[in-house]
């Protein structure tokens, strides 16, 4: 079955990034415009959700309606509160400042996992803190209002770009490697325990340089990973792929634009697939024969 993506918003300046379905609309990041917007499928219009986001990329909606954002420009995970303010989270780990978060997800317990990558674009402000010698998945645990602790989850990644939890939250998928920095890109599955720590990983996919690897992922109702990968610079072309839980690519669909960034299901019964891309567009494919996982 062909997936027909149509442009529903944009294109915006630079790339579009993170996606999060709020039940009735799709939040998405216009990273370089420093905005998070909300696309309303009922009206077909996209309006500002937040301005001046500090280059927030990945986003995730919490139970209380607040939205966590991976702020590449400010080297932090922020929380867009329901009263319109924006709160910081913990930025220091073992006395050092973490890198530039690119993706963020929440588990059922409200713990915040984020991909703490390096970034080709410098962060805001004078360089007072060096970058960490590692780029890892990190975890924020909340201990009360404005009280977070930060822990390291992965110890073997080089530059995580996208993270995803399995339906039972016992597996953490990590798309590792930043092809723009010359990394080899891989997709790994880590067993995740109740404490939020991981065991030994299993490699699901290995991309040969200069393959772009995976940038954004979501889960369908059957537990398959829907992933954005590829670019026109080399290796496999821009595509959206369906990956079985065991790591086999079972479907490949051409992406509507170069460097597809992220995917997420939305609309009624999570029956449409939304996609952001390097061209700054927000795309949607209806009736693809798959639905999103209801968490």
């Amino acid at each position: 079955m062909a997936w027909n993506f149509e442009l529903v918003a944009g294109p915006f300046k630079g790339r579009t990034g993170g996606l999060a379905w709020d039940g009735k609309g799709m939040l998405f990041s216009a990273v370089a415009e420093e905005r998070v917007l909300r696309f309303d499928p009922a009206t077909g219009k996209a309006d500002n959700f937040r301005r001046w986001t500090g280059r927030v990329n990945g986003i995730a909606i919490a139970k209380d309606g607040s939205v966590f954002g991976a702020q590449e420009g400010g080297r932090r995970v922020v929380q867009f509160m329901t009263d319109g303010s924006t709160a910081p989270t913990e930025e220091m780990i073992e006395g050092a400042h973490h890198n530039q978060p690119v993706d963020v997800i929440l588990d059922k317990k409200g713990r915040v996992f984020f991909a703490d990558a390096y970034n080709s674009q410098a962060p805001y402000g004078p360089p007072a803190y060096p970058f960490l010698p590692h780029a890892s998945v990190l975890r924020l645990d909340n201990w009360g209002p404005r009280y977070w602790s930060l822990s390291r989850v992965t110890h073997d990644t080089v530059g995580p770009r996208a993270i995803l939890l399995s339906a039972d939250e016992k597996t953490l998928y990590v798309a590792d490697g930043d092809s723009e920095r010359g990394d080899v890109c891989q997709l790994h599955a880590y067993p995740l325990n109740e404490h939020g720590s991981v065991g030994h990983r299993k490699m699901l996919l290995n991309f040969a340089f200069p393959e772009r690897g995976i940038e954004g992922m979501c889960l369908d109702s059957e537990g398959n990973i829907i992933a954005c990968m590829g670019w026109t610079k080399g290796g496999s072309p821009p595509a959206v792929v369906v990956i079985s839980p065991g790591g086999t690519i079972v479907e490949t669909h051409p992406a509507p634009a170069d460097s597809p960034m992220r995917v997420a299901f939305g609309d009624a019964d999570l029956g449409s697939l939304y996609l952001t891309a390097g061209d700054g567009g927000l795309y949607r494919a209806k009736g693809i024969g798959r639905r999103g996982l209801k968490r």
């Binding site: 001046w52 805001y124 402000g125």
Partner: protein, 306 residues
Amino acid sequence: MHGSLETINIEVDMCAPGWERIIDPSPPVEVIARDIIFGEGPTWDARNKQLFFTDIIGGTIWKWKPGVGLEIVLSPSVKANGTCLDLENRLVVAGWGGRTVFRMEKDGSWKTLSDNWQGKKLNSPNDILVKSDGSIWFTDPPGGMMNVGMVGPDLQRYLETQPVFRIAPDGKMSVVTEDFVYPNGLCFSPDEKILYVNCSRERVIRAYDVKPDGSVGKARVFHQYTGPERGVPDGMKCDVEGNVWCTAPGGIWVHDPSGKPIVRIKTEGHHPTNIAFGGDDWKWLFITNVGSVVRTRIKIAGVPSR
């Protein structure tokens, strides 16, 4: 990210005629504070013969007294930045990450002077000064809502512009100018008839004629920084002859009243953020850096900070 204090040297370059009256070619350097993360906000308190400065990222307002040493004035400071003294010699602070302007009262308590403009929270007050009529002038760029290690409890921006604000002696606040995309340092000419404001994004210093009612005339470009060197215009002060001293690309630039550079004071390997004149003769130049505060001797007196 900053150089070793064991090897700190100050030298000069870009020397134009008359530079010898400003500074010696290799003046002595004395380290006042180390083990601070991001020095800023230096102000000499002549009445008590002491220097106030801030460590933005370290979240502390400090004071240093010759022969005595360092003492904490306020911690946590919620990432406070620029400081100055008002007519009653009270410390007035640009709150930056805390997004307020506040003042230390005689009893040691702290009073908020401003936290909003027309009901919307300020951006992040960066640098500040008090005119001889008691009015308070400050720049309000957004860095204290974004910069790594410099933010407070709310990172959301609400104001459309990045104004320079004035708080009149009666407390009434007004916008001085909205010409800037990142207003940073500001100072008056010795007669207070010219207001200088620099922009860290456009790397420019603008000059404004100050009107008696506290408003200003149209902007004129005082100096445009060009070239590949790292750094942006930041802290800025005037000496008694009207020369404008500005921490800028490659070091501290001294411009004559027409804007022309007279000399540049280089601090190789160190990143100066702001300056203050001080000492009994106002010929000590205090320099806050990323990582330290130092002082050196100069040959021309600064405009007294009160």
